[in-house]
Amino acid sequence: MEFSVMLSTMSAGMLRTGAIFALTLLGSLPLGMIVALLRKSRFAPLRIFIRVYISVIRGTPLMLQLLVWYFGPYYLLGLNIGGWRFPAIIVAFVVNYAAYFAEIYRGGIESIPQGQYEAAQVLGYSRAQTFMRIILPQVVKIIMPSVTNEVITLVKDTSMAFTLAYAEIFSLAKQISASQTSFMPFVIAGVFYFIANYAVEIVMARIEKSMDYYK
């Protein structure tokens, strides 16, 4: 197989990897915030549910979670969902990453001094205004380094979709390497992950810099 053919075959895998990455962030960044807020809910059963969810997600391998989401509907509910492979991957990733982001958000929210809430309350801000205008912008700045770490991990974690035989870049590299008895697919995959993470670092550094105007 010529290099150019190999590259174009694998570029389809890069797109699929990109899709997992983008959809996971799109789902888990906001879901993580909802989870972080529900974790402090006044309704105890909900609070307990959220804690169990976070601890189960963090305490079990993502690879296993992928299998559970993919095979669960059939084994647990007897459902046979057509085309469930890709949605199952996205659900597994979103649910997994939301738990990690929720913990990052929680740490950020808890690091904001009580005085910020009190100043806002005395000035008459509503609870929603206080959160959106005063607390959240400060939280975003504080958590940016941790979020960057998590996003870089996600770029690499997308390879776990391989568990469900989804033809993203890692699965393709393994497949093509075996069929062509070539090492080149691994090199291509490695370079792809590295460049993707380099781009992530640049983008995140820009965002962090844009919030440098205050301390």
Binding site: P113, G115, Q116, E118, A119, A120, Q121, V122, L123, G124, Y125, Q129, R133, I134, P137, Q138, K141, Y213, Y214, K215
Partner: protein, 253 residues
């Protein structure tokens, strides 16, 4: 009467932090509250500004009840949310730690609440802010951020931020206690200036000479009760209670 506090009670766990505290604040009056640490001064201001809920007693703003004692349970009942919003609009609080919003410019710190809470237009809010900053002597700092200012300047911004809400009464909780000694003067000066303009103020302070110079009345608190109150001359120079004398003797060295 701007504010009437009647038999205010407040407990934290088993600790009675405020026990039957009663006092009135008249329009244009400047009242200083003094007393040892832990006597309940901050808690009292926090109850008056609705940061804490009282366990009993009446809070009356402008003759209108914000909180009162329920005859049956003996506990406190608060007015509905809409009314509380109005009462909150009457009062402001300047904190020991300033509590400016670090991500907002000085200008935005002052204009944001008038615009987002009171629905004031940007032009009017900014014109007010410029005027207030000028009064505070920091008109050149409008575009800066809190971290770029000294403590004394930050506290003056905090005062401007509170005043931008067009308050009836402004509370200060040890406004100079977090400042280096050489910076307390500039903050006390603007409070004095506000007193001269007949702003109604309640100031918790350890600055006795300041209390003597600006207040119409001094309240001495200890152990969650008002031990005595009166003119600065009576309370500070000629106290009638032994506890007051003991407390004041610490400041005479």
């Amino acid at each position: 009467m701007i504010l009437e506090m009647k038999k205010i009670r407040k407990k934290f766990g088993g600790l009675e932090v405020l026990q039957d505290i009663s006092f009135d604040i008249d329009s244009g009056e400047v009242v200083s509250i003094i007393g040892p640490s832990g006597s309940g001064k901050s808690t009292l201001l926090r109850c008056a500004t609705f940061l804490e809920t009282i366990d009993g007693g009446d809070i009356i703003y402008m003759g209108d009840k914000a909180a009162w004692t329920d005859e049956q349970t003996g506990g406190a009942v608060y007015a509905n949310a809409q009314k509380l919003k109005k009462f909150r609009g009457y009062c402001g609080l300047v904190f020991q730690q300033f509590n400016l919003f670090p991500h907002y410019s000085i200008m935005k710190n002052i204009t944001d609440a008038p615009m987002k809470v009171q629905g004031m237009g940007r032009e009017e809010a900014e014109a007010n802010a410029v005027e207030l900053l000028r009064k505070m002597g920091i008109e050149d700092k409008a575009d800066g951020y809190p971290y770029q200012l000294s403590g004394g300047q930050q506290q003056r911004v905090a005062i401007a931020r509170a005043l931008a809400m067009k308050l009836e009464i402004l509370f200060f909780d040890e406004p100079t206690s977090a400042l280096d000694p050489e910076l307390t003067g500039e903050v006390l000066k603007v409070i004095k200036q506000l007193a001269d303009e007949n702003m109604t103020m309640v100031v918790v302070t350890h600055e006795m000479s300041f209390a003597k110079a600006v207040s119409d009345r001094v309240i001495f608190m200890d152990g969650g009760v008002i031990v005595e109150q009166g003119t600065p001359k009576d309370v500070l120079e000629n106290p009638s209670e032994e506890r007051t004398r003991q407390f004041l003797s610490v400041f005479e060295r």
